[in-house]
């Protein structure tokens, strides 16, 4: 029997889960169709605030309406709620999974894509912005190669403070090395920690999120995002396992 072929996103998720597992991160799950609280309100994105405009959102025709999640940070919220219920003070998880954005598709945008969101929470002082940077440095070196470097730029995501944009220095074979914008991240806002039922005076954490397709495109040289979810085996077989 000839061997089958894994989808590049599944292959990437395996690599990512393995790398993060070495840093103590588990893999967590949550619904793709979320309630407004877990996708937005718990993350300090109230309905009447311009922060809602940062993500183009689908809504269901339900009462109450639900949202095909715009990020898997909703999974992080659920994990922190579970921490609070179970009285734990530590949590490290990633959620490499599908998210949705209501935006026109082109070579770099799809209405559905995969995001690698994650969160690390621990007693105040044990999880810091420096740890966020160290976590990214470890991850990108393992995933993209030892020459990868990480830098932060000031940015804003409603659920973190400080918030940063993450650039990675990537030396692609046969290409000019350059800085690429790969993720958003920051230290969890104390209100978010409180919204999850935890005490921001005792625990702190970081959260991050970035598109997985984009990383796969960078690493494997995929020119157009639209192949990933087109249900086309020609795309899947376009990645050569022998050359890995």
């Amino acid at each position: 029997m000839p061997p089958g072929r894994i989808h590049p996103l599944s292959s990437a998720a395996r690599d990512m889960a393995a790398i993060f597992a070495r840093m103590g991160f588990g893999v967590a799950y949550g619904p793709e169709l979320e309630d407004e609280f877990h996708n937005f309100d718990a993350l300090r994105v109230p309905a009447d605030h311009p922060a809602r405009d940062m993500q183009d959102t689908f809504w269901t025709k339900e009462d109450p309406r639900r949202v095909p999640r715009t990020h898997t940070t909703s999974v992080s919220v659920r994990c922190m709620e579970a921490m609070a219920r179970e009285g734990r003070t530590e949590c490290r998880v990633i959620a490499p999974a599908k998210v949705f954005r209501n935006e026109a598709t082109d070579a770099t945008h799809e209405a559905q894509f995969y995001q690698l969101d994650g969160v690390a929470v621990g007693p105040v002082g044990t999880v810091t912005l420096a740890h966020l940077k160290g976590t990214f440095e470890y991850f990108y070196r393992a995933y993209l190669g030892p020459s990868a470097k990480v830098r932060f730029r000031p940015s804003f995501f409603p659920f973190v403070e400080p918030g940063v944009e993450v650039d990675v220095w990537y030396e692609a074979p046969g290409k000019e090395p350059r800085w690429l914008e790969v993720a958003g991240a920051g230290m969890l806002h104390p209100e978010v920690i409180a919204n999850c039922g935890l005490d921001p005076e005792t625990v702190a954490g970081f959260a991050f999120g970035g598109g997985i397709e984009r990383l796969v495109m960078i690493k494997h040289g995929v020119p157009d995002i639209r192949g990933f979810h087109a249900g086309d085996i020609r795309f899947v077989y376009g990645f050569d396992p022998a050359a890995a």
Binding site: G24, P154, P162, V236
Partner: protein, 646 residues
Amino acid sequence: MAIIQKASRAWLQKYFDAPLPDARTLADALTFHVAEIEEPASPDSDLVEVNVLPDRAQYLLCHRGVASEVAGALRVPLARDPLAEPLPEWPATDQVRVTLGDGANRFIGALVTCVTVGPSPEWLRAALESVGQRSINNVVDATNFVMLDIGQPLHAFDAGKLAARDGGYAIEVRGSRAPEAITVLGGTTYELPEGTLLVTDANADGLPIGIAGIKGGEAAQVTDGTTTLLVEAANFDGARVRATAQRLKLFTDASSRFQNRPSPELVAYGMRDVLALILDIAGGELVGVTDVYPQRTAPAPVSVPLARLNAVLGTELGIVEASAALDRLSLPYAVTGDGASLTVVPPFWRTDLQVAEDLVEEIGRAVGYDRIAGAQLPPPGTAPSLDRFYGIERVRDFMLGRGYAEVSTPSFAPEGAIGLENPLQQDRPYLRASLAPNLADALARAALAAPRVLGPDRFAKVFEIGNAFTADGETLMLAAGVAALNGKPSEAAAALREDLDALEGELLGMPSMAQCTGDRTVAELCLEGVNLEKLGAGYAPEPRALGPYRPYSPYPSALRDVAVWTPAGTEESEVANAIVGAAGDLLARLDLFDRFEKGEGDDARISYAFRLVFESMERTLSDADLDPAMECVTAALNALPGWEVR
């Protein structure tokens, strides 16, 4: 989405004595200090485009705001700061009466007589055009200039078009009463949903003269004949302005500012600057000002203990460094708690500074995030759980091991149980209730692509693992399909049945649950009943690393077969090399599909039959491409001693 604030370097320069650096240096400095800047077209570009995110939009959507950040980023002081300069004492007037309803935080109305409306002076036209705005007339340009300069939206009404009673004007800000409509500047008429915040002429039965915080009405438009102005500087509730702008789909420079909730304190500074500019360039005389400000707001002090600062950033900053960072941002502070804390009294325009973490960010970005050294997290207290993930990967590995290719297909569908309010594709307005239809489609296309992608296999096999959405909830599903490439669908159905029996029986240990569809070549299985954690415990997914991607042709491939007699002892590779050497660049794939030997001794021969797959990245191939290629192949094979194309 960020709001792009277009700033002009020449305009920013007015805030500094020292010359500003070139556009690229400026862009870099701001990008690492406060906000992403669009790549400038050239080092000489005048335009600086700042991606302003909602947290800083209360103060950064103007040249003064950008200049304040330039000062911090380049460590050069502002030569002047209009928000630090004193406000004048205006004469009060009973000729402007203002009544505010809910949603209006402050309203200053000023009456100016004897103005001359006309073209703007050249410097003003140039300033507006430098940031992509059109000059209209001196009065309107003055309101726009001040908004772009210090961020306060402003509006001028032609008082001559308002109703005067007892020699005075009466403005009321109120919610609309259905059905009400307004024609705004530019001539568009809007039917107003009940409760829309309006600026109205109370002397004219409450005639709407503006949609509060969004756009002025045509009824009191300033034109060339205007001689008396009622100038508005106001502050409206951000949520209401935002809701109205969204409902009317009317997004303006004013609405984008108000929805980000600038301080009502700014209103007076806007009035000060616009009155000075109007009197300067349009002449006239200020009669007086009415300021209604029901609830004065002032930012509360915010403190951050040094220990907290370092616990968030993972740094060891001392009080001197942290204080220097606040100095650079011109944030006034006091060292409190015996040097253990910093307390900032935010200037009125920094309404974003509310909790300690906000100060952590200010200090962090001013110090520079490049100063933060990466650190590894300590080992976790408990080992991470990946069991569910491994359980799903185990199912995936099983399917891959049975020869299936994994696909991903859209979660949006033509039919389903849960509809979308705002679908992107009108023909896919539901979330999928089943993975089977998409999989059947992927399977049909896989069968077409199989000769090119899979070669001469008997079957094309595809699967997808994903979520489906039904009235009962969201479920993790596996869909699989098999196509027979040169056999009957029943053979494909049998192969699928065998694989699913193995999956359910051998791996999952559950009774046969998979639902087959159509001709039984596609089946779907709900994985919710499977204990995935248990399945994954201790499982190590097979390494399945992938190499570089090679794009496929968007055009269909074309097939040709060739069979050739060769002398005994001829290797398959010799034939393949001969074909590859003759077939040309369009040959994309070559597969042996038949080989047999015939005869004995000197008569012994071997027949090889190959399938050639041709493909172009540029076009669909025709016989005109393939026939010459096949003639070359035939000629090349026949030319070899003892070879004969059959």
